[in-house]
């Protein structure tokens, strides 16, 4: 067994010790990954001890092992969810046949594309977030940021495992390329648009983990249905970790809202900005921005790729088993499309509308957290409610890409849209304000930045003022 690919160094449940192919691939890739992590991982925090969760096995005890660790020494592992005995294909043309344990040659390229696209988002978000440590609102949040980062790293490992194990030389080359692309680099950008957007402050980080990681959740749910069983198993395990990211996003936004509400109650007639917190309309604008950007990640409303993926059993709907019918062949999906400058209801073949079906589930799920924010405001007696914009608003992908649509979903002239843009999306002045607000990090245990409320509780039974990151 090779030096690098040991069970001790790489916790796994994929029999790495016996797998020559995987060992050989990882011998090449793992040093490159560490180089990438040092170059593009969290800036300035490579040597600190951080209280992190590490998955050391796939069972209930093992997947959440907490301890101090330096990030470059984090034990990124490879885990698949337990196999479902006699699992059969749950949708598409091959419904009911046994799932595939190997990649069928017919679907090799499409599967590789799906895996690479998913895999590319993982290191991309680490790159996007690499400077946030310098402006963190607390050690608790700093630790959560790093927990998200190392888990995105592990998700990259999960996708790389599939590429290494099932896609031969092409797979190894793609795995290497995942470490070569750079978020926001015009010459070698990350594959999806939202993962090239800069993330320069913590409001965006919470919005990203709330909205964009939720896209990740739905992509993983759709891939968990895949007929390619190793992909299904690896994404099912990833979903357990993804849940934490959304927790970070949801509680982060909630704590900001809580703090603003508190100030608003104390100073009901003042602009909250005068008191160093983020006013609710500004939070709404960031919500509009990240929500619309994340909606784009689901792809076009009418998509022949989506139809192909579904028909071939590569990518299903989230929770496919909750649907009554799984071929989706003779069914239609009614959606609003743009025809002669007007919104028209059109019936689209259901398979071609699969991106929209997944987006529906996402929209519904996104609303749940927003309801919590609104409940907090109601309980605080503040007359303001957050509202998710229309899914047609501010889109760069699909039928409404570049079409001027209001947050309510109405078609506007470009001039009318331009005139109201600053009321809907963050302005330079908003950005400047947020940057000003978050210019200083808070590294003192238990202390919170002024613009955010403390969390209800700490992590793994530790108090909020626990030293989650040892700064010395």
């Amino acid at each position: 067994m090779s030096n690098i690919a040991t069970n001790e160094k790489i916790p796994n449940n994929v029999n790495l010790a016996e797998d020559r192919r995987l060992q050989r691939a990882l011998e090449q890739w793992q040093p490159s990954f560490l180089d990438w992590w040092r170059e593009m991982g969290p800036e300035g925090f490579q040597l600190q001890d951080i209280f992190l969760r590490t998955a050391i096995s796939a069972d209930t005890d093992g997947w959440a092992h907490f301890d101090y660790v330096r990030m470059p020494e984090y034990r990124w592992g490879i885990f698949l969810a337990d196999p479902v005995p006699n699992r059969t294909i749950g949708f598409g043309d091959d419904y009911g046949k046994p799932v595939w344990q190997e990649v069928p040659g017919e679907h090799r390229n499409a599967l590789r594309r799906l895996i690479v696209t998913q895999g590319d988002t993982e290191p991309a978000s680490v790159e996007q977030q690499r400077f946030l440590g310098k402006t963190c609102p607390s050690l608790y949040d700093l630790r959560n940021l790093f927990q998200v980062n190392v888990e995105e790293g592990r998700h990259l490992w999960a996708m790389v495992y599939l590429l290494h194990s099932y896609f031969g030389r092409d797979g190894r080359e793609e795995a290497e390329a995942l470490l070569q692309r750079r978020s926001g680099n015009p010459d070698n950008p990350r594959i999806l648009g939202a993962f090239n957007a800069p993330m320069q402050h913590w409001l965006s980080f919470y919005m990203f983990t709330y909205f964009t990681d939720r896209d990740g959740k739905y992509q993983l749910l759709a891939l968990a249905e895949s007929s390619f069983d190793p992909l299904s198993r690896t994404t099912r395990f990833m979903l357990t970790e993804e849940a934490h990211h959304m927790f970070v996003g949801e509680t982060g936004i909630l704590r900001i809202v809580e703090r603003t509400a508190e100030i608003m109650k104390q100073h009901p007639s003042d602009d909250p900005r005068r008191h160093g917190v983020i006013d609710l309309p500004t939070i709404q604008k960031y919500m509009n921005y990240w929500y619309s950007l994340s909606l784009d990640l689901f792809g076009g409303e009418v998509s022949s790729n989506a139809a192909h993926y579904f028909a071939s059993g590569l990518k299903g709907r989230a929770h496919e088993d909750r649907f009554e019918e799984h071929s989706a062949l003779d069914a239609y999906y009614a959606m609003d499309v743009l025809e002669d400058g007007k919104l028209t209801r059109e019936e689209v073949a259901l398979r071609n509308a699969m991106n929209e079906v997944l987006r529906d589930a996402y929209v519904e799920d996104s609303q749940r957290g927003v309801d919590k924010f609104n409940k907090l405001l109601t309980e605080a007696g503040i007359d303001f409610q957050f509202k998710l914009p229309s899914r047609r608003f501010n889109r760069q992908v699909g039928l409404f890409a570049g079409v001027p649509v209001s947050v309510e979903g109405e078609l506007l002239t470009q001039a009318a849209w331009d005139a109201r843009r600053d009321a809907w999306l963050p302005t330079e002045a908003d950005e400047a304000y947020i940057h000003h607000l978050m210019s200083q990090p808070v590294y003192e245990p238990g202390k919170m930045a002024h613009w955010i409320a403390p969390p209800k509780r700490g992590i793994k039974g530790r108090p909020v003022d626990f030293e989650y990151v040892r700064m010395d």
């Binding site: 020559r20 192919r21 050989r24 069928p104 040659g105 017919e106 090799r108 390229n109 031969g168 030389r169």
Partner: protein
């Protein structure tokens, strides 16, 4: 159009003069006469009548057999006369009702086979040196005239009736499918406007005008036809190649079912079918023993000479796959055997071929069989796995493949070049497979000549001789996935793509014929104007007139 329900009956390509139904092979000294007399109810399949010396595949299988036997079994023959035993009709071409009842795939393979046969006839004249004369004792229309054009010299009887014609366009709404149009202007160099006029007149052109236009070489009044023919034979005889000694009998091959029932095994070739994956493994084995190095020893071995028997078997396997396994879209080419023995056999054959006609015929045969491989509309993958050592003539299978996979491992397979890879076995485009492969760098082909040692996968890859070289860890998966992926693509798109990529370099008569056949004739065969409800081919022989969609592309 109704497709024959018997399309799936396996076709046998075995033939022997003693069992010919449609031809008589008459040998008189150094003149062989092959006379066509098609048995009307002797079609390969039921449902059509072979009137007026029209032919189907069965007729052509016998013709191909006769040409092959003249080469090997009758070295004394200097002139081959092709004629008809029927009065006033030479041959009226491929049977239209047969075509009408056949599936598209069968039609395409039928045309390809008959084209190959006509090219073999030309190869007989050009390389074996048996002069070919077509004695048109009656009308030759369509495929009948195309067969005549495949001969060197055409004599037409002048009786006020007999004509040569290509009536496909005016009568059937299709094209002459056996190279007729190409041979008119490219081989006989008939002026293009005259060729145009000729190809649209259903009744054709007779007598003197046929000579003036260059459609035939001589027109002889019926009363003096035999005498005139004799004079032509005398003239041609002088230009023939002298071949001496007894002939070599082409003994029947002895295929047998493989044990699992999913394949056929010959002595040097095994064909294994995987119906579910739509693939077939075609394995060609090298000689088991050292091959003769003298002409007399070679003669003694005769048809059991490895290079002859193995390539005859390969030919048989390919025909079996082409006609009887149309859904097998991917042929996995494998070779085995001792490279030193192959190289020695190659060398002996090449050395003997300059002075011994039998050795030369074996070489020509190998060339034709490999061309047939190039021309097969199926994906070809060469797989060089564990323990394989490919050399010389066998390496041509690797270079014929659309892609090749060679295992990269310590002590793994090797690839060794030899003189056979540099000239004696050209493709249809007149170039060797290596010249075609390295069209961008002819100097590389010259450099490869000096590379005589066995090459590892790594070296073969560096030299551009193989496509992919997975190591032992990746091997199984890479090969499996590549095969599965390929077998899933549209077979039509693959056919077009492969044919476009295989024949880079110059055009020749052959490449033009097959190119036009694949592109134009097969397009027309699919169009409603030919095969639609009121298409010309559909309504041929019925009271109805065709009805065309007159829009042009």
């Amino acid at each position: 159009m109704a497709e024959s329900s018997t399309d799936s009956l396996p076709i046998s390509f075995d033939a022997h003069p003693s069992t010919y139904r449609h031809w008589t092979l008459d040998l008189q000294g150094d003149v062989a006469t092959l006379a066509m007399n098609v048995v009307e109810d002797g079609g390969l399949r039921p449902g059509y009548v072979l009137k007026l010396n029209s032919y189907d595949l069965g007729v052509d299988i016998e013709l191909a057999d006769a040409i092959q036997r003249l080469r090997f079994e009758h070295p004394e023959v200097k002139v081959l006369v092709i004629t008809s035993e029927k009065d006033k009709i030479f041959c009226s071409g491929a049977n239209i009702y047969m075509l009408g009842r056949s599936s598209h795939a069968f039609k395409v393979n039928f045309c390809k086979y008959t084209n190959e046969t006509r090219l073999y006839l030309e190869d007989l004249a050009d390389h074996t040196g048996i002069k070919t004369l077509c004695a048109l004792n009656g009308t030759a229309s369509g495929g009948g005239y195309e067969l005549a054009m495949a001969c060197e010299h055409i004599v037409l009887t002048e009786d006020g009736n007999s004509a040569v014609s290509l009536p496909e366009v005016p009568l059937l709404g299709v094209l002459p499918g056996t190279g007729g149009l190409t041979r008119l202007v490219d081989k006989r160099k008939v002026r293009r406007d005259l060729a145009d006029a000729f190809s649209t007149v259903a009744e054709g052109v007779r007598g003197k005008r046929a000579v003036e236009w260059g459609l035939v070489d001589e027109s002889i009044p019926r009363s003096r036809f035999q005498a005139g023919l004799q004079a032509s034979v005398e003239r041609l005889r002088g230009a023939a190649t002298e071949r001496s000694g007894p002939g070599v009998a082409l003994t029947p091959l002895t295929p047998r079912r493989t044990e699992d029932g999913h394949g056929v095994a010959w002595e040097h070739v095994t064909l294994r079918l995987d119906e579910a994956r739509r693939t077939a493994e075609l394995e060609l084995r090298g000689p088991r023993a050292a091959q003769p190095e003298t002409a007399s020893a070679l003669r003694e071995l005769g048809a059991s000479t490895w290079a002859l028997q193995a390539f005859r078997e390969l030919d048989a396997a390919m025909l079996e796959l082409r006609f009887n396994h149309q859904h097998i879209g991917l042929w996995i080419l494998k070779v085995s055997g001792d490279p030193a023995t192959v190289l020695a056999a190659d060398a002996a054959l090449l050395k003997l071929a300059s002075s011994d006609w039998f050795a030369k015929e074996i070489l020509l045969h190998m060339k034709r069989v490999l061309k047939r491989l190039d021309l097969s509309a199926r994906t070809l993958f060469a797989i060089l796995g564990e323990g394989v050592a490919v050399a010389g003539s066998l390496a041509e299978l690797v270079f014929a493949a659309d892609r090749s996979f060679m295992l990269d491992a310590e002590g793994g397979p090797t690839l060794q070049l030899g003189p056979m890879n540099f000239g004696p076995l050209p493709m249809s485009n007149g170039l060797t497979r290596l010249q075609t492969r390295f069209l961008n760098d002819p100097a590389h082909v010259e450099a490869l000549r000096r590379l005589t040692a066995p090459l590892s996968a790594g070296e073969a890859l560096r030299q551009g001789l193989v496509t992919f070289t997975p190591d032992d860890i990746d091997w199984e998966d890479e090969v499996r996935i590549a095969i599965e992926e390929r077998a899933a693509f549209s077979p039509d798109a693959l056919t077009g793509m492969e044919a476009s990529l295989r024949f880079a370099g110059p055009e020749t008569l052959e490449t033009k014929i097959f190119g036009r056949l694949s592109a134009w004739q097969n397009w027309i065969f699919q169009r409603p104007n030919a095969v639609g409800e009121r298409g010309a081919l559909t309504v041929y022989g019925t009271p109805e007139r065709p009805s065309f969609d007159y829009r042009r592309t």
